[in-house]
């Protein structure tokens, strides 16, 4: 069983001072990682933001959650990841995803292929990125990329490569993650129709069991070395879990209050109840890494204080 660790998805700041204060606070509260998403929204660009966060801290790990594979060529991505790892003294965790928000593609004039093609492209990219980070001279001829006799230098500090996290919810992506990633991040939500519709059905316990079975099967022998994480959407301290969950049904009408309480994507209750819930989720599903968003960093902090590293 892996020790608990916690991460924050941080997205924005108005100045260098504010961003670096946020990074120091996340480190001081006991979080393991600060991660930056990669959207064409009002958020910082991840690569420079990570370097700046690491420069303001001493042990905090920094990561992407997640790089949209379609926004960068894998050769460029591998080079940037290696430099970030080198210049953060080996603190990078490289999160990759297939991209899912159609409006971003439309704005940038990029073709939004169907999910299967985007995942296939991510798989090719992942092969190239891993081999380059390892120090190999890469020759690759795929459906989407062609690399001829390329190698990168300097290499990352973490060998053979910085931990790779793949986040998503669909079976194709989770299968790829199980086979190739170091951390599989269960995001829980399927953003259908180019990101405009939220399908919450994967929050239900049977759907999670099914995804875990899929990941275990696809991972085979490497399953025990995989780290499994879940992306938490709400942290609500309350003496009345039931009532809080019933109120949340208004937000997520696809779910019952009971289903919300059982889902690993929320934490609701007293501190003891939340701590107990995380133990139960690790026992049942092997989830040991929990990631949430920066507005919740104070709310999750008491739990981090109790469980980080345990």
């Amino acid at each position: 069983m892996k020790p608990f660790r916690f991460g924050i998805n941080a997205r924005d700041a108005r100045s260098r001072a504010e961003w670096q204060d946020k990074a120091r606070k996340i480190e001081a509260l006991g979080y393991s990682t600060l991660m930056v998403p990669d959207h064409l929204w009002p958020v910082l660009a991840p690569i420079p933001a990570l370097v700046s966060a690491a420069a303001a801290t001493t042990t905090l790990r920094v990561g992407t959650n997640v790089i949209n594979n379609d926004l960068r060529h894998p050769v460029v991505l591998a080079r940037e990841a290696a430099t970030v790892d080198l210049l953060t003294d080996g603190r990078l965790e490289l999160g990759l995803g297939a991209g899912y928000v159609r409006s971003e593609y439309d704005q940038a004039g990029l073709r939004f292929d169907r999910g299967g093609v985007r995942v296939e492209r991510l798989a090719e990219s992942l092969t190239i990125v891993k081999e380059l980070l390892r120090g190999a001279e890469v020759n690759f001829a795929g459906q989407h990329y062609r690399v001829a006799g390329h190698k990168i230098h300097p290499l990352p500090i973490q060998r053979p490569h910085p931990p790779i996290m793949i986040g998503g919810n669909g079976p194709r992506l989770l299968t790829l993650a199980a086979k190739e990633a170091d951390t599989v991040n269960f995001t829980g939500i399927t953003f259908a129709r180019g990101g405009t519709e939220h399908d919450m059905s994967a929050w239900k316990v049977p759907a999670i069991d099914e995804r875990m079975r899929l990941v275990r099967e696809a991972a085979g022998e490497r399953f025990d070395s995989l780290e499994l994480s879940a992306q938490i959407q709400r942290v609500i301290a309350t003496d009345n879990r039931r009532q809080t969950a019933e109120e949340l049904v208004k937000t997520w009408p696809q779910l019952t209050a009971e289903e919300i309480l059982e889902s690993p994507y929320v934490l609701i209750g007293t501190l003891d109840e939340m701590v107990e819930a995380l133990h139960a989720r690790r026992e049942r599903w092997g989830l040991s890494y929990f990631v949430t968003f920066d507005p919740l960093l104070e709310a999750l902090a008491p739990i981090v204080a109790r469980l980080a590293g345990k």
Partner: protein, 201 residues
């Protein structure tokens, strides 16, 4: 007459400590800027290296000399430049070039177009990047890029945008007027001129 200033193109380091020591030395010697090239060769990746150099120094300007326009989409370049400028307290200089080494494009499986096409693409990219860094909602329909209703936030510290350096040696690149519709529309506003550096990357 502009005052003299000097910059160093720095490319490599074996560790964070070595890289940041180099940045402090460049600053200590009175250089204005530390710049990082963008080649698929044995050197650091420019944007993270520039941010790390800024983190180790106080007033040194940091930049790219130059980003190969063919390696990144201009929307991404604008976003990364804005973040690099914000997180270096306004010390970023964005150098852009059209790309010139066929072997790099070959290695990455990218088509290497003739110079005129690469230059045309750079001109379109510059127009998009300037518009985005300037805070505009950009809609652009070119031969090479199509951007629809995109804005970036947070923007850079330097307004309207960080200095843009265009580096090269060919007459088309050095003499080309305008650099896209947004530049030519800018004669009467306070946007800084495009700096055309004759040093080759």
């Amino acid at each position: 007459m502009k005052p003299f200033r000097f910059g160093i193109n720095a490319r490599d380091a074996g560790s964070r400590a070595e890289w940041q020591d180099k940045a402090r030395r460049v600053e200590g010697l009175g250089y204005s800027a530390l710049m990082v090239p963008d080649h698929l060769a044995a050197m650091l990746a420019p944007i993270p290296a520039a941010v790390s150099a800024a983190a180790a120094t106080k007033s040194l300007r940091v930049g790219t000399n130059v980003l190969n326009n063919d390696f990144r989409h201009p929307v991404l370049v604008a976003r990364e430049a804005a973040t690099a400028d914000l997180l270096s307290d306004g010390r970023f200089e964005l150098g852009l070039g059209a790309g010139h080494m066929r072997s790099e494009n070959d290695q990455a499986g990218l088509p290497f177009e003739r110079g005129g096409v690469r230059l045309e693409r750079l001109a379109e990219a510059v127009a998009i990047i300037k518009g985005l860094l300037g805070g505009a909602e950009v809609t652009f329909v070119g031969q090479h890029y199509r951007v629809t209703g995109h804005t970036i936030h947070p923007g850079p510290v330097q307004r309207p945008y960080p200095p843009i350096i265009i580096g090269g040696n060919g007459p088309r690149l050095l003499t080309r007027g305008g650099w896209g519709p947004r530049t030519s529309a800018c004669g009467s506003c306070e946007k800084p001129p495009v700096r055309e550096s004759k040093s080759s990357s």
